[in-house]
């Protein structure tokens, strides 16, 4: 093979390779540049030149005409010379570019954007694209004011303003961009937020934790340069939203019918699989039948061994008044009911709730009546108490008089012993009867006991009861009844199926979200701490292994949108160039190089086979084609400044090697050579270079090789 090149073809071949690489690079990068340029022009046409527009107003498509008129009015009245350009309408939303006249590009105008444009009909919001500017994303609210003041002191900064969670620093000129950007970065680097995140449901006193944290790091950071900023509103909305979703899911889960599943022996329950039960309908599920409306589908959740909980996702058991025990059949994805795999218990929680509400209503309706009756009862009791007190006093008087009478009888000796005894018995019997008449069941010394009763206290109690009953009567029981009736009427509206779907929807949303737990944030200025080392310390200190610590910046410089867009275009250009390089190399290998590979293979076939077995198996022509593929592709790729994402130059070289080997192996199919003509050339004493120039290449496919050869071809 070396002989083939030594005869003089090497020079031709080197020229061919160089021209191929240069042409390949020009082709790849040129075409990619053309694409890039086309897109770039389109973008410029769309979004204007740098600084031409300051805002993109997002308007509902149907209100576009009215909005344009309003914007023209605003421009005419408030910002003469303003530019308005209507561009793309995407998904029912029109985007209108608005450029303030130079004199109106002030902090005051940009801070008051909502006031200026909120009256525009159909306005869905706006995006600030003022240029030249530097966008700082995610500026922590605790330092926003401080940062804004410092940014405005930087030379080259015109003004800065808050735009949502971001801050825009507007520059005098794009030339200052790099220097200002560096200064802003230096300022941002002075601040850090040390953040502690607690797991969901972990309740902490954030103030106390913040103090502990600041105490722990006081050796590393000057206490004067630490600030608890946990209460800042940063990201609160999302946190609150997620928490609400979780709560809502918990509520729905507790409100849904309870489903308990027990797998039959030999069956395993898998979370997410669906089981069909009869529910309260008449259709009875059976194996190998099709699913029918009226049946209830339960999704398995929370599997524990052979038991699991379930959630109804189709159908409902709202009219079930008692626990249902039913056979559960596996539901296949094609809608076929499969084997009986579990026993399912369904309990309509809402029925119990409805029952309780009904009972409450009954109670409430009777409460008013009960209060009136209770009030009467208290009044009666009070009257009885008065009568009782009066009777008691009379009894006391009577008892005294009877005692006197008894004593008088005893002291009077004119009476016989038997008479005295009879009188005494009569008097005592009379007293007893009187007492019994006033207070039955009282013991013999009951009168004394009756005297001991605290009648005033009893009266006071009665008075309290009367007052409470009056309070009860003051309650607007009817209003309560109305509201509870409304709740009762609403209860059946939420069916199991709706609940199940809602829970699934919430789960879908929550699947990609980190549910926020409690969070403590400490602003640190000019301090350096090792957050991971600190994490271990704080875990020890709080005795909580689940708290995580992060060090974050207070804001991040973001390249401006235009630069990002053009950077993206540049990446697209590089990718296209890479792909074109591959296409070009494949084409050139087939059109040009395959002819050479085929010739080499033919020449090898006329030589004696190598004595070494390994050398006999290795075809130098294919090794050569692999190397050529590698050299061409990697060089064109590099020269064209191509960059396919995740593809390194080593991978490109290997790809070239493989492409070269494949085309080398199949070269006779792509570009067969006429062996008879070559043999004639050999027999006539032509050198290899002459054979190539006069016989092989002129008969080959048109390509660079053919083109370059024409200059040297004599016949």
């Amino acid at each position: 093979m070396l002989q083939f090149f030594r005869d003089g073809f090497l020079k031709d071949y080197i020229v061919l390779m160089l021209v191929t690489i240069v042409v390949g690079a020009i082709f790849s990068s040129g075409l990619a540049w053309a694409v890039d340029s086309h897109f770039g022009d389109s973008i410029n046409q769309m979004i204007g030149d740098q600084g031409e527009y300051d805002l993109i107003l997002h308007i509902r498509e149907e209100a576009k005409e009215v909005a344009l008129r309003e914007l023209e009015r605003i421009a005419e009245e408030q910002f003469p010379g303003a530019k308005i350009n209507e561009t793309l309408t995407v998904a029912g939303q029109s985007n209108i570019f608005f450029g303030f006249p130079p004199a109106a590009k002030t902090e005051e105008v940009f801070v008051n954007l909502p006031g200026i444009f909120n009256g525009v009909p159909g306005l869905n919001g706006y995006t600030v694209i003022v240029e030249p500017s530097i966008l700082i994303r995610g500026v922590h609210p605790s330092v926003r004011q401080q940062l804004q003041e410092r940014f405005q002191e930087i030379t080259g900064v015109k003004f800065s303003f808050k735009d949502g969670l971001n801050m825009l620093v507007v520059l005098d000129s794009m030339d200052n961009s790099k220097a200002v950007s560096e200064e802003i970065q230096a300022i941002l680097d002075e601040y850090q937020i040390l953040e502690l995140r607690f797991p969901m449901g972990f309740q902490v006193d954030t103030g106390q934790v913040a103090n502990e944290v600041m105490d722990l790091i006081k050796d590393q950071v000057n206490p004067d340069q630490m600030l608890n900023v946990s209460s800042a509103e940063y990201g609160e909305e999302l946190d609150a939203f997620l928490k609400t979703l979780v709560e809502m899911r918990n509520f729905l889960l507790s409100y849904a019918s309870k489903v308990r599943i027990k797998a039959k022996p030999g069956f395993h329950l898998v979370e997410g699989e669906q089981i069909v039960v009869q529910g309260t309908g008449e259709v009875v599920p059976s194996q190998d039948s099709e699913f029918e409306e009226g049946l209830v589908v339960v999704e398995v959740i929370n599997v524990q061994g052979d038991q699991a909980e379930g959630m109804i996702i189709k159908g409902s058991i709202s009219d079930a008044t008692e626990v249902l025990e039913q056979k559960g059949y596996r539901l296949l994805s094609n809608g076929t009911i499969s084997e009986y795999l579990a026993d399912v218990e369904l309990e309509n929680e809402r029925y119990y709730l409805q029952y309780a509400v009904e009972e409450s209503l009954r109670l409430l309706r009777e409460l008013d009546e009960l209060a009136v009756e209770a009030s009467l009862a208290v009044e009666n009791a009070d009257a009885i108490l008065n009568s009782f007190q009066e009777a008691l006093m009379q009894l006391e008087v009577l008892q005294i008089q009877l005692h006197k009478l008894s004593e008088g009888l005893t002291q009077n000796g004119t009476q016989s012993a038997s008479e005295q005894l009879i009188v005494s018995l009569l008097v005592n019997g009379l007293v007893k009867n009187l007492v019994q008449a006033g207070a039955e069941n009282l013991p013999d010394n009951s009168l004394q006991s009756l005297e001991d009763l605290d009648v005033e206290a009893m009266r006071s109690s009665l008075s309290n009861i009367a007052s409470q009953i009056t309070n009860v009567q003051d309650i607007d029981v009817q209003a309560i009844i109305d509201q509870i009736s409304y709740v009762r009427d609403s209860l059946p509206l939420l069916e199991d199926e709706d609940i199940g779907k809602s829970i699934r929807l919430i789960n879908t949303y929550l699947a990609g979200q980190v549910i926020p737990g409690e969070r403590v944030q400490i602003l640190i200025q000019n301090g350096i701490i090792d957050d991971k080392q600190f994490e271990a310390e704080i875990r020890d200190s709080l005795d909580n292994d689940y708290v995580n610590t992060y060090l974050t910046t207070v804001g991040m410089i973001n390249p401006d949108a235009r630069a990002e867009l053009f950077k993206l275009l540049k990446e697209i250009r590089a990718t296209i160039a890479g792909m074109l390089a591959v296409v070009f190399v494949i084409a050139i290998l087939i059109l040009d190089q395959a002819t050479i590979f085929s010739t080499l293979k033919f020449l090898r076939s006329t030589r004696n086979a190598a004595k070494n077995k390994i050398l006999r198996l290795v075809n130098p022509a294919i090794i050569f084609s692999s190397l050529i593929g590698m050299i061409l592709l990697s060089n064109i790729y590099l020269l064209a400044k191509a960059e396919i994402p995740f593809v390194t130059i080593e991978i490109v070289a290997i790809a070239g090697l493989i492409i070269g080997a494949l085309i080398g192996g199949l070269s006779e199919r792509f570009s067969p050579v006429n062996s008879q003509e070559i043999m004639a050339g050999q027999a006539l004493g032509l050198s290899n270079v002459q054979i190539m120039r006069e016989i092989v290449i002129p008969a080959s496919r048109p390509g660079l090789l053919n083109l370059l050869n024409r200059a040297k071809q004599r016949f």
């Binding site: 002989q3 086979a609 006429n674 008879q676 004639a680 050999q682 027999a683 004493g685």
Partner: protein, 242 residues
């Protein structure tokens, strides 16, 4: 002029030449005959190194042909005319260019080359077709162009590799006529591989019979065909007698 000694060639396990020894005198017309696959074509292809033998030596005018490399080999080949069975013309070139191009590439002055080409074409009766492309010619005409191409370099040795094997019988005659004429009118040493027995009888100074990669018999046409010593010779004798 040509000495071949102990020439061996095999393709894998198939032996093509199994110790061929041959001498050809200057001006001699040697016809090699034998059944297909006996090694005739391989022998003459080895002579101009279109096929590389595995072993042996070939000496032409004192030059060890198998040791020639590069320009020396090419110079040797330019002095050996080769006529192919399949003509092997360059299809994209005209008849005239097919005859002239190798001369020009070898450094012969264009005028001289053209003169020699015209002479060669005239000899084979193809001058009138000089502007045609080979694809527009009959097989016999193409072969005559092939012969003219070989003649144009005024070779000392001409090798003919079954020049009529690819032609239909009607066209064979015109090529054999040309060949006979050449043998008669030139002093060029010729080694001809052919199956044409009558042609061999007419033109050969000596006939060599080959079988299974070996020379089995050699001698004058009369000796070989009248009193053959080999099996192949006897078969040819029967063929002539029949």
């Amino acid at each position: 002029m040509l000495q071949i000694r102990d020439l061996y060639k095999s393709y894998g396990k198939q032996v093509a030449l199994n110790g061929v020894n041959l001498d050809v005198k200057r001006g001699e017309t040697l016809v090699i005959m034998g059944p297909s696959g006996c090694g005739k074509s391989t022998t003459i292809r080895c002579i101009n190194r279109l096929t590389e033998p595995d072993q042996g030596s070939i000496v032409v005018d004192g030059k060890a042909v198998l040791e020639l490399q590069g320009e020396a080999l090419r110079a040797y080949r330019r002095n050996v005319g080769f006529v192919f069975q399949q003509f092997n013309l360059i299809n994209r070139l005209t008849v005239f260019d097919n005859v002239i191009f190798h001369l020009v590439l070898a450094g012969v002055e264009r005028d001289l080359a053209e003169e020699r080409a015209e002479q060669a074409l005239r000899k084979v009766g193809m001058l009138k077709h000089r502007h045609k492309k080979p694809t527009n010619l009959s097989g016999g005409e193409q072969q005559r162009v092939g012969i003219a191409r070989a003649l144009a370099s005024n070779p000392d040795l001409m090798l003919w590799d079954e020049p009529t094997a690819s032609l239909d019988p009607i066209l064979v005659g015109e090529v054999l006529e040309v060949m006979e004429e050449l043998v008669r009118t030139t002093q060029t040493t010729m080694v001809i591989v052919t199956h044409e027995v009558s042609f061999a009888l007419k033109v050969a100074d000596r006939i060599v019979l080959m079988d299974q990669g070996q020379i089995v018999e050699a001698g004058s046409p009369q000796a070989v065909f009248n009193a053959p010593k080999s099996e192949i010779g006897r078969k040819y004798q029967k063929l002539i007698a029949g």
